[in-house]
Symmetry: C2
Subunit: 466 residues, 2 copies
């Protein structure tokens, strides 16, 4: 009998996908990209490997997990580790782009310990949506959390979005007595609190050079989580913390975010978790991680949670300094990365959930939501958010200007090419109404200020016109 000496297998931590599994995964991709497109996303595709120096010093302790290509004469390259750094490199290279919502679905590579049954692989898909550009604080951040909520609504999964803020976390470390140079390393220990009991985390912090007292103080601060409004009230009542500049800047951001989340009607899905730290070095503001509701509840008789089975199924944050590291110009960014393989593992037993697919396929927008008023007007940001959320929820592709007080002209410019506008104004709002305007090239735009409709009929009226 002839036998080959070749080992018939895929490399460690990788697998083949075939048939129905692959079709379910593609359904998941389509469901997610439909949401991205609804939010005005532009697709980007980058090479699977990058110059090694592009990837260097971006991932902290995790850098050792990078796959390097052999030096075969020429450039030194590594497989991409995530989609965020390649996006930042692309932004740095393309000076004409100042604002973009980009999405990318692609495989990334980490030489981590694989656990295939739990959806933890060395080659795995990420599915990223990022908003780049200067906007008023926390508005893009809130939209990202809204995208998260909509993606999991579309996938039929109950989730909790854990949020924290790097400046609050770093400030808390300072107040507890952690020295600046130890902050990132202690941060990475704290981040393990969802996987390890407190005693083990404390031990790791002590091994990293914290005294028993400082470690306990850190533990006291970070081991609390809950409703974002309650947590903010708590933090604000602690004068020792609020006296710290970093903490107080973080609290200001989170207070804005809490308002915006309420306007989107998604604050119940968000939990402010002071132990959330995220491993990657480049985050600078809001950070977040998504767990499924069922998997997030503690198992009886265990101080671990069954989250461990799958881990977080999406994660992201704000990274305002990453693009600037390439020496050209800083562009603040915030984004989310969906772990599609882990989502697949959850959806697999009940594949019918994967088929909740929207029919939207074109990336063009249907509606632009804008606010118009005189010198005194307040921009109606919260109102625009509530309105656009109705549209998004109904599967309608809509955008609005992410500014507290947007100028009328800017909004009209931004709406070019969009067939419909929803226009918010003081008097109309007071009567529970908005104007719905159809853009027609031949029309006299000055004279046509749109049809008055009740806010309650918004989705219905928009759908009539699409």
């Amino acid at each position: 009998m002839s036998r080959s000496s070749v080992q018939l297998k895929t490399p460690k931590g990788t697998r083949d996908w075939v048939g129905d599994d692959l079709l379910l995964r593609e359904n998941i991709f389509k469901t997610i990209t439909d949401v991205f497109k609804r939010h005005g996303g532009t697709p980007l595709d980058t090479p699977v490997f990058e110059l090694k120096e592009i990837l260097s010093e971006k991932y902290g302790e995790d850098s050792r997990l990078m796959y390097d290509l052999e030096d075969q004469g020429g450039e030194i390259c590594s497989l991409r580790f995530d989609l965020t750094v390649p996006f930042a490199r692309w932004l740095a290279m393309n000076g004409n782009v100042t604002h973009i919502k980009r999405y990318q679905i692609a495989k990334v590579y980490r030489r981590d310990q694989p656990a295939i049954a739990r959806g933890r692989l060395r080659e795995f898909h990420q599915c990223d949506f990022d908003i780049a550009g200067v906007y008023d604080p926390m508005i893009p951040d809130a939209e990202i959390l809204c995208v998260i909520a909509e993606v999991f609504e579309a996938l039929g999964l109950d989730i909790t979005i854990k949020v924290n803020h790097r400046r609050i976390l770093d400030g808390v470390f300072s107040v507890a007595g952690v020295s600046d140079e130890k902050i990132r390393s202690i941060s990475s220990a704290v981040d393990k609190l969802d996987k390890m009991p407190w005693d083990d985390v404390k031990k790791e912090m002590q091994e990293k050079g914290l005294s028993d007292e400082v470690a306990d103080q850190v533990g006291g601060y970070v081991r609390c989580s809950g409703n974002i409004f309650d947590m903010l009230a708590n933090l604000k009542s602690n004068e020792k913390l609020t006296a710290n500049e970093e903490v107080s800047a973080g609290i200001a951001d989170m207070s804005l975010l809490a308002l915006y989340l309420r306007a989107f009607g998604i604050e119940q899905q968000v939990s402010f978790d002071c132990s959330l730290a995220r491993g990657l070095d480049y985050y600078s503001g809001l950070i977040f991680e998504v767990i499924t509701r069922s998997s997030g509840e503690p198992e009886p008789g265990s101080n671990k949670t069954s989250t461990n089975q799958v881990g977080s199924i999406a994660a992201g944050g704000r990274y305002d300094n990453l693009v600037g590291m390439y020496g050209k110009r800083p562009i603040p960014c915030v984004g989310i990365s969906f772990g599609v393989d882990r989502i697949f593992t959850i959806l697999q037993p009940t594949p019918e959930k994967g088929s909740k697919i929207s029919s939207a396929t074109s990336r063009n927008l249907d509606v632009y939501v804008m606010a118009i008023g005189g010198k005194e007007f307040d921009g109606f940001l919260l109102e625009r958010m509530a309105l656009i959320r109705r549209l998004w929820k109904a599967g309608i592709r809509a955008e609005y200007m992410a500014k507290v007080k947007p100028k009328s002209l800017q909004q009209f410019k931004a709406s070019i090419g969009v067939p419909l506008a929803v226009i918010v104004g003081q008097d109309e709002l007071a009567a529970g109404q908005v104007r719905l305007k159809v853009f027609r090239p031949e029309a006299d735009e000055e004279k046509d200020s749109g049809q008055l409709i009740s806010v309650d009929n918004l989705v219905e009226e928009v759908k009539k016109l699409l």
Copy 2:
């Protein structure tokens, strides 16, 4: 001014894709996969790297273009070079699979000299459709050529499919006096005839050790091409060639193919080109390469053709021994690989051509075409081909059994889960009719032999029922 020392670029021979370019490319993918699905294809996704030993000794002279991963402790891996070898590895690993039509769209990697403007990159997409399994000779081969014709019909491109046969080519080399151990290397020189003038190819053959006389004799044989029926007549009239076992086996295959291509009504798109050789080692039978009609015509005053601008836009062949090289069991295969980046380069100036998209999205089949008859019946293969071609052309997903004389029971088994069957029988055919049968789980299949319809109304009647 702060300046980073980091080079802001993608690695040599790679590029980013963004926005409309990417959407056009996705349209191309969708158009192509719709055709694949119409032919009953199953999707497969394999890791971007494979164990190096899996890829070894499959690519002849091109092996030096492989990207290797650095040895970081553990397995030695290389980036995939094509999608064919990973498919063969998958077949060898999955012993339960004896017959499959699989498709895969993914990036492959070759450290070749890049020419980005002409769509020649080091990281590029391939889009593969392969039929694996033992069937009657040349039937799957003809279906692959039919898939090629349909893909380019859907993309709106006029093409020529150049075909040749490895056994004819190798036999011709023998007859001309090329020794066995030189055949693959001389074959690779001959393959350059579409890019280099004869004198340069001859020089290369002489450098590779052929005498002037032998080189000229090779040149005399391989420098002819044309209609497949004419070329076959020519070959058959050359007794020196037909006396060679290899040539004569190749002629038998090509004669069958010619018949099948006529049944599909696509023989006008096929040119039998004796100089076509294909570089890769693993081909064992029919080989083919697709060029666009316009790009394939010689430029005035030049002995080169403008094909050089883009090169072949799809290529493939039969590889009956590759799966067996992994030491388990041999599975004969034939397949096609579409060079999507080159197709993109051609479609780019007129993007509206990229939007001819079929609406089919599910991978299930609509119709199974079968033949039924008594002991004497001939299987109606050509008739089934002509019928199924009508269905495919109309965008209907259909399959049939790739056997000259299929058994009734086998065909009914193969049609399980397919809602409609077109049944071909002697008497009906004589009257220009077929039976159209709707499979209903609750029905008494014995009693319902289907409705008689005219062959001319086939597509119309099927569409009524879908």
